[in-house]
């Protein structure tokens, strides 16, 4: 809106279209948009949030619209600023002429931790230090743009901008399509081309990775989102290793060279050998690999130096010095306290200024002079005077407003927009869009997602035609067809394997629990205690449930069984409960976020829902639980269906499926052993329940067409190789996977993994279920029971062996970090 509170003309179309839609239709679309956001898992971590660290991404459905002419004038200023900061970096990490000539005070560089001395003298490819650059922009009510802060470390938000676009363009599809809104894909395409070019200096098929600090980082969602969108491998420090001054990715089939690292880890954490040595997020030896010119890191290590606000007051003169031009885009008025004259001004005008540290300083928040008490004021001044070079003061900016949706109507709210630039062909390309955030009050000095805030999609209009590009065509067009994707990182293989195990654990637990709950609701207590006891044996044996006291009366036993069973299903403080198992699935899913389709993510995101509704309302009825179990089983079936249907039959799928098979076999063996221990294993109702848990009732009926008999039931569940629920089927599938893993195929000696499996298979094949029908033989002493027990020993061992062979992550340590005293 303009200074008089009138809507600016370029908003007309959006406002008109909204009016045409009507509140009801808009509400409906916005609800769908919110669902889309939730299901895509868009989140932002908030550090120190007691309510859990993940917060759903907050979006305002009304886009921030910028007129074409306005944007064009801004673009030149932003490109110039990016070039300028890049040149400042090149000088500070090179000849340091600016410092020696006094154009840049030495304290601005030497006095902050952002100047990484080990990186001095490293010349990056093409002299590009800044590959990706972000600037927070404010528009004053008179329509002029100001740079509020520079983001050169590892600017975040470009991925959230994409996500916002995705949602908002679906809420207002007609407006978006017809409104001459510029698309974002071209920007990412430039980024891909730039990296492909940098990487191809070493490698025809360069490998680009995104280095993330991991799922606990505030913007992890974005790391995964960008990895998926750009087709890069998402890695953490421990996935990479340096050998021969070259960076490699640890994969299932060995070390694969890495050519470009797009880092989302702060630069000083990137190499514990030469930079912050307490870092566990980095790659030891990375700086040496950079010196050797064997890898490109974007942004260059040390780039964080120039995002200090201390630099802002020197940009106009630096611009004249380095580019021979006037600075086009002004910064918010900034005084660096390291200079006497500036400090005097700050002290005199403190009421109108915000004092900030030149780099984040623990225990010091930006402080507005106005409203400080006298003691607070003198303490602030004393603190600044003691180390003046560590502080700047900035004018508070009055922000212009944009229409925002408050749930009922449009209201004007102050906004800040982060623009993004990417290095491209010797210059910079500006993203025609950005991440706009809504401030809570008009002069707020701090708008940060970290403090909780709402973002907006940013629409940049064009007078010309809208460029349309999709990233799916592949970067550079030089890529050859690849049948097998890049090799799987070991850590991902491990996550997929555990995903498989937990998914099946949840399903088996839910099936057993459902069979038990159902019988508790329909049978008499005497009948229930006879039937349900053996069914619960696996949950008790596997530590998911406490055994109800056997000595109790039948009625008493019934009550206790009911209570314990509910605990095993619902309780969050029972580590073996189904509810906890489902939250494990969701946790692992976050580790795999970049590898899962939106549909899979949606299914997993909904798994937890029945638990939140079921536990929220005091006493729970068994029938309610039955409904919950049905939902969980259906949800898991949905996941399995998508995984089986959509995953390529590559290594990742094999590890997921091996996890599933091992877990299913374990539950099956435990269930059958529990039944064999029942007072009457041949009981028809019990056999019925076994078929139900094993999801084999239909198969049984189609095959035998008679009441269940023990030998036939056990044959179907153990030895029928056509039954995908049988033990034999699980073991054979595992064997097939093992044979196709890297390193297992050609080895003449049988691997320890294969021999564990072979032992189970060969003893299983010798079993004849008819021995169960022989009178006078105790069921638990049959060969069949022996095979079940053997399998329960060998499969967990197989899981261990797989972890040893494929997931082994040696931990990183500093042997010279002694608890011993220093010397001297």
């Amino acid at each position: 809106m303009d200074g008089e509170g009138r809507m600016r003309p370029h908003y007309q179309r959006v406002i008109d279209d909204l009016r045409k839609l009507g509140t009801e239709e808009f509400d409906r679309r916005w609800e769908a948009g919110k669902r889309l956001l939730r299901e895509s898992g868009a989140t932002y971590h908030v550090y120190g949030d007691p309510l859990g660290t993940e917060r759903p991404w907050q979006l305002d459905p009304i886009p921030y619209v910028i007129a074409a002419a306005d944007w064009q004038s801004l673009e030149r200023g932003l490109v110039q600023r990016a070039q300028l900061l890049n040149l400042v970096l090149a000088d500070c990490y090179g000849p340091q002429r600016l410092i020696r000539s006094g154009k840049l005070p030495s304290a601005v560089v030497f006095g902050q931790r952002g100047f990484l001395r080990p990186c001095h003298g490293i010349k990056p490819a093409g002299d590009v230090f800044l590959h990706l650059y972000g600037v927070d922009l404010a528009k004053s009510p008179d329509g002029r743009w100001w740079a509020l802060s520079d983001r050169t470390q590892n600017p975040s938000g470009a991925g959230y901008a994409l996500e916002n676009r995705l949602v908002v363009s679906r809420i207002l599809p007609e407006t978006f399509r017809e409104g001459h809104v510029q698309r974002l894909a071209g920007f990412y395409r430039s980024l891909q081309l730039g990296f492909a070019d940098l990487g191809s200096r070493r490698n025809d098929q360069p490998r680009v990775v995104i280095l993330s600090p991991g799922p606990f980082n505030e913007t992890y969602f974005e790391h995964a989102y960008l990895a998926r969108y750009l087709g890069y491998t998402l890695v953490e420090g421990e996935d990479l290793t340096v050998r021969d001054d070259r960076v490699y990715l640890k994969t299932l089939s060995g070390l694969e060279p890495v050519d470009v690292i797009l880092r989302r880890v702060d630069d000083d954490f990137c190499d514990p050998l030469e930079l912050r040595n307490e870092s566990m997020l980095g790659v030891p030896g990375l700086v040496q690999a950079l010196r050797a010119g064997n890898v490109v890191v974007a942004n260059a290590l040390g780039s964080g130096l120039v995002q200090t606000p201390a630099l802002m007051s020197f940009l106009p003169s630096l611009c004249r010095e380095l580019l021979g031009e006037e600075l086009r885009l002004p910064s918010v008025a900034t005084w660096w306290c390291g200079q006497r004259a500036a400090r005097d001004h700050v002290e005199a005008d403190l009421d109108n200024l915000i004092v900030k540290p030149i780099a984040p300083m623990p225990g010091f928040e930006p402080t507005l002079g106005e409203g400080l008490s006298d003691p607070q004021r003198s303490e602030l001044i004393a603190r600044v005077r003691f180390q003046p070079h560590l502080f700047v003061a900035q004018e508070a900016v009055t922000l212009s407003t944009a229409p925002s949706w408050n749930g009922r109507q449009l209201v004007p709210m102050p906004v800040v927009t982060r623009a993004f630039l990417v290095a491209s062909k010797g210059s910079y390309r500006l993203m025609p869009g950005g991440l706009t955030r809504v401030a809570s009050d008009a002069t707020s000095p701090k708008i940060s997602m970290q403090r909780g805030g709402v973002s907006k999609d940013t629409w940049v209009l064009t007078d010309g035609p809208v460029e349309s590009i999709t990233l799916l065509q592949g970067a550079g067009g030089r890529g050859e067809l690849q049948r097998i994707g890049h090799n799987l990182p070991s850590r991902i293989a491990s996550s997929l394997f555990w995903m498989g195990r937990y998914v099946e654990r949840a399903e088996s637990t839910a099936r057993i629990a459902r069979a038990a709950v159902f019988r508790l609701t329909v049978e008499s207590s005497a009948e229930a205690s006879r039937l349900v006891g053996p069914l619960l044996a696996p949950l008790i044996r596997l530590g998911q449930m406490k055994a109800p006291d056997r000595k109790a009366t039948e009625a008493d036993w019934y009550l206790r069984a009911e209570r314990e069973l509910l605990r095993a299903i619902l309780h969050r403080n029972n580590p073996g409960s189904l509810g906890v198992c489902v939250s494990h699935i969701e946790r692992i899913a976050t580790l795999l976020r970049d590898r899962m389709s939106l549909d899979v993510w949606r299914v997993l995101g909904n798994l937890d829902e029945p638990f939140t509704t079921c536990t929220g309302q005091g006493r729970v009825e068994l029938t309610e639980v039955l409904e919950l179990l049905n939902k969980v089983i259906l949800g898991l079936a949905g996941f399995r269906g998508l995984a089986m249907d959509n995953m390529t039959r590559a290594q990742g799928w094999r590890f997921l499926d091996m996890g599933l098979r091992i877990e299913r076999a374990v539950y099956l063996c435990e269930t059958l052993l529990g039944a064999l221990a029942a007072p009457d294993p041949d009981d028809t109702s019990l056999l019925d329940a076994l078929l139900e848990i094993g999801d084999s009732s239909l198969t049984y009926r189609s095959r035998y067409n008679l009441v269940p008999q023990i030998a036939a039931v056990f044959d179907l569940l153990l030895l029928d190789e056509l039954n995908p629920r049988s033990l034999l089927y699980q073991l054979r599938t595992l064997q097939e996977h093992l044979d196709r893993l890297p390193g297992e195929r050609n080895g003449a000696p049988v691997s320890p993994r294969q021999s564990l499996l072979l032992e189970c298979l060969s003893s299983l094949r010798r079993v004849d279920p008819r021995e169960l029908s022989v009178p006078g033989v105790a069921p638990l002493e049959t060969r069949l029971a022996e095979v079940l027990r053997l399998t329960l020993v060998n499969l967990p061992a197989l899981s261990e062996e797989l972890a040893q062979a494929y997931f082994a992550h040696a931990t990183m340590s500093r042997p010279d970090d002694p608890a011993e005293p220093a010397e001297g």
């Binding site: 080990p118 970090d817 002694p818 001297g824």
Partner: protein, 291 residues
């Protein structure tokens, strides 16, 4: 004085180490009155990659990577070093401390840029008003810089107790101030914190100190130690060393190896290993006067 110096570091691991990256700053300085006639670095097992360069502060640093699985790593540096007596600085003369601090308060001229870097806080040494407060007694207005620093050197020696059990390599200097105990590294950090809190340039020096066996006892091989002290920048004179642990101005019995803002810039052997389980580390230094 000519010395034969052997600095040996042995790591023993309970599990095999698959790869280890190291940076060693063991080459004695060649500067001023100190020379280094020979230097030899042996690493067992043989590193796959090794290189040498001068770091940002001009220290020689050797990087190496051992890529074969190993349970033991031995790093041995042998040097022949010479030291010559230097004229003891005249403490009573030279610039006043407050004049020097004034030089560094605003952007100093180009010839003072190098020492200017050592006036700021660094990873292990923060500036703090408590350090300025402790130092104040040695720095009355108008006192010559070196005289004031020598006084601070003596006070730290008197006020702080040498106690190898009180601190570790990572003890923050604020804790040393509170504990009033520590070892050479702690005293050097403390003195640097005091000087920088007054806006004076101070740097950390790592090296060795010749030790003498007690009268009548034989000289023990390998019983010497790494040592650390402080240098303060005095315009027109240059960097002047002070050893607060021993209340000395270093001369021919101190051998310097590396300088930096604090210990984190000059650790003699730093490394990151992948694997290895638990480890034991054994460092021995042998410094003897050459025959």
């Amino acid at each position: 004085m000519i010395y034969d110096l052997v600095h040996r570091t042995v790591y023993v691991y309970t599990q095999p180490v698959s790869v280890s990256h190291h940076a060693a700053r063991l080459h004695p300085q060649v500067q001023g009155a100190q020379g280094c006639a020979s230097f030899d670095l042996r690493i067992v097992p043989e590193p796959a990659v090794s290189s040498a360069r001068d770091d940002y502060f001009g220290n020689a640093v050797n990087f190496f990577t051992v890529q074969q699985p190993h349970r033991r790593l031995e790093i041995t540096a042998r040097s022949r070093v010479s030291t010559n007596p230097t004229a003891r600085p005249d403490l009573e003369r030279g610039p006043l401390w407050d004049e020097v601090a004034g030089l560094f308060e605003e952007s100093p001229p180009p010839d003072l840029l190098e020492p200017h870097q050592f006036t700021f806080g660094s990873p292990m040494v923060r500036r703090g008003r408590e350090f300025a407060g402790y130092a104040a007694a040695s720095f009355p207005a108008g006192r010559p810089l070196l005289k004031a620093v020598a006084d601070l050197n003596g006070r730290i020696h008197r006020d702080f107790k040498f106690d190898p059990r009180a601190t570790t390599v990572t003890t923050p200097v604020e804790d040393v101030m509170r504990l009033r105990r520590g070892v050479c590294q702690d005293f050097a950090h403390l003195m640097i914190a005091c000087l920088r809190s007054l806006a004076l340039p101070a740097r950390y020096v790592s090296g060795y100190l010749r030790t003498r066996p007690k009268a009548g006892s034989p000289r023990l091989v390998g019983a010497d130690m790494s040592h650390a002290w402080v240098a303060v920048f005095c315009p027109a004179v240059g960097w002047v060393d002070f050893d607060p642990t021993n209340n000395l101005i270093p001369d021919v019995e101190h051998i310097s190896v590396a300088v930096g803002r604090d210990y984190s810039d000059v650790a003699p052997v730093a490394g990151i290993v992948i694997g290895g389980g638990r480890h034991a580390i054994n460092v021995s230094v042998d410094l003897r006067v050459a025959e």
